[in-house]
């Protein structure tokens, strides 16, 4: 198992797309938090005591899709480039290979989410001070914010990995990851109304506090986390069974 874990870490660290994705995420974060939320922020925002806390949640919400791509690629590259034959014959158990991917993607997602969440207020403050603006004293509900951000970032990456394990085709998995959260669940909201929060990505949005105006107080973030967890467990079980049983090609 340790060997499989080390190999998955090495896979993440030795492809260009990992660094490209992190670079893009950091560039977007610097632009949004330093320039938009910092340097160019308006007076109304500067007088809100939860401006930085909201900024953290919004940044994590916006950038988790990018970190999810790392998890998605870790699976789909195997099938796209047929390296899965090596992965499965170097290990004596397919479950170990999938478990190693889940653990490594989880760790990468948590590290990147922490980095994004930490940089967000720092860069915003830097932009505000650089433009000689004054920000009111901020309240920072650390514990509440930390678990919601980490759950959201981790959850999105897990969703990417599960979608990749189910679909296997890289383009198909990317399309699914890009259209299900917004387009598909958005359309389903027309029918499900506020019950849409019981769909996985809408529930995940409730966890991070995004779209509160769309489905206000339908469920608490904690309950939304449970809803998403249920979807994730169900999807993971199906993905695991298919990973074990399907031909590796």
């Amino acid at each position: 198992m340790i060997a499989a874990l080390k190999a998955e870490v090495l896979k993440v660290l030795t492809i260009r797309s990992t660094y490209f994705i992190i670079g893009i995420a950091l560039a977007i974060e610097i632009f949004v938090t330093f320039y938009i939320s910092g340097w160019q922020t308006d007076q109304v925002a500067l007088h809100q005591p939860d401006m930085l806390a909201n900024g953290i949640a919004q940044t994590v919400h916006a950038l988790s899709l990018l970190t999810a791509l790392i998890g998605l690629f870790l699976v789909t590259h195997e099938f796209r480039y047929n390296t899965v034959a090596y992965s499965l014959t170097l290990s004596n158990n397919r479950s170990k290979v999938l478990a190693a991917k889940i653990i490594v993607v989880s760790v990468v997602a948590i590290i990147l989410t922490l980095l994004i969440a930490t940089l967000s207020p720092l860069l915003s403050l830097l932009g505000i001070h650089a433009n000689h603006l004054h920000l009111v004293t901020q309240s920072m509900p650390y514990k509440n914010l930390l678990w919601r951000c980490l759950f959201y970032g981790w959850g999105y990456s897990m969703a990417g990995l599960v979608i990749a394990a189910l679909v296997r085709n890289q383009i198909g998995a990317l399309v699914t990851l890009f259209i299900v959260p917004g387009t598909i669940e958005g359309l389903l909201m027309l029918w499900l109304k506020h019950h849409v929060v019981y769909l996985p990505f809408s529930a995940l949005n409730v966890v991070i506090g995004h779209g509160q105006g769309v489905y206000p107080n339908a469920i608490t973030p904690f309950h939304a986390a449970l809803v998403f967890g249920g979807w994730l467990i169900g999807g993971s079980i199906i993905a695991w069974v298919l990973f074990i049983r399907r031909d590796a090609n």
Binding site: A3, A4, K6, A7, L10, K11, T14, I15, R16, S17, H77, Y81, N82, T83, A85, Y86, S87, L88, T89, L90, S91, N92, N93, R245, R246, D247, A248, N249
Partner: protein
């Protein structure tokens, strides 16, 4: 069908009743054979015969019926399967931008193999100078070398190589032949599929032939050729008409080939004696042995999945 020869080795790959169906079509139909250690076993068959599927079934990469035992145990019962079998199933099985060295390091890590071995195999296959490059732009031959390096990483007891000579230049093919021979000579088993029959005939000790998913032959190379192609004698003399008459008197059939005669059945000794007794000077007398290609075509006749129309007619 040629019955498998009896193998007395303890260690071998034993394939029993492998069967695989794709959407009601039998891709592999109850195939059983053995791969000995210390020998190269060639795996032959026309396109679409089921060679790659059989290899994937053997490795557990595809699901189907039957069993494959490596030294009497399934591959997944070993703690480190890479120490037992090294594979090359596809030349381009790598991420195109991950460097060749890193590709091998990933595999080495997964197999608990030290990185020093990566440098050794890069050296063995002659890719040391290309190790820093992404293999996406490698030629087919270079990709094959990288695949061979991956297969050799753990110094496995068995090698399973699917068309390893594809894309290799003549020098590379010669190197591969020598390398696999020496690998087998060290007591390892080599199982290799190839379309290059002349190459296989120089390399393989045993041969497995399949067609349309069925086992057509599992025997030694010598037996395969001897059992399916009759050798002939070619004779060229100064008095051909006289020799023809003598041969007819002896009840021997012959065929005129160029300015000589081709006979199937008698030996050169017999023909030479007949000509000498008649006082006919012999200009040329030679045995034409059967080739693997002839044997292969004989065995697989009617077992081709895809058949081209003669002369390229549509």
């Amino acid at each position: 069908m040629i019955v498998p020869t009896s193998y007395n080795k303890v260690s071998m790959i034993k394939v029993s009743h492998l069967t695989k169906t794709f959407q009601k079509k039998l891709a592999v139909d109850d195939i059983s054979f053995e791969v000995e250690t210390g020998k190269i076993t060639g795996f032959l068959g026309p396109n679409g015969a089921g060679k790659s599927t059989t290899m994937r079934l053997m490795l557990g990469l595809a699901s189907g019926q039957g069993a494959t035992l490596f030294d009497d145990k399934p591959l997944n019962s070993y703690d480190q399967p890479s120490k037992l079998v090294g594979i090359l199933l596809e030349a381009k099985a790598f991420h195109p931008t991950r460097t060749a060295r890193n590709h091998l390091r990933v595999l080495a890590t997964a197999g608990s193999i030290p990185f020093s071995r990566v440098e050794e195999v890069l050296d063995i296959v002659g890719l040391k100078t290309e190790a820093k490059k992404g293999p996406g732009k490698f030629s087919l031959g270079m990709s094959q070398r990288l695949g061979i390096a991956a297969a050799l990483l753990a110094q496995p007891k068995y090698l399973m190589l699917d068309e390893p000579a594809n894309g290799l230049d003549p020098e590379g093919i010669a190197w591969l032949r020598q390398f696999l021979k020496s690998y087998a000579d060290k007591g390892n088993g080599v199982f290799v599929s190839s379309h290059l029959l002349s190459e296989m005939s120089q390399m393989a000790d045993n041969v497995i032939v399949i067609g349309k998913g069925k086992l057509l032959a599992s025997t030694s190379m010598k037996q395969l050729i001897a059992g399916n192609v009759r050798s002939s004698v070619f004779v060229r003399v100064t008095k051909q008409a006289t020799l023809e008459r003598i041969l007819k008197e002896q009840g021997l059939t012959f065929e005129k080939v160029g300015d000589g005669l081709k006979l199937v059945g008698p030996t050169t000794d017999e023909i030479g004696k007949l000509a000498a007794d008649a006082g006919i000077p012999i200009l040329e007398l030679a045995t034409h042995g059967g080739s693997l290609e002839e044997a292969f075509l004989e065995i697989t006749a009617g077992a081709e999945e895809f058949e081209a129309s003669p002369g390229g007619q549509s």
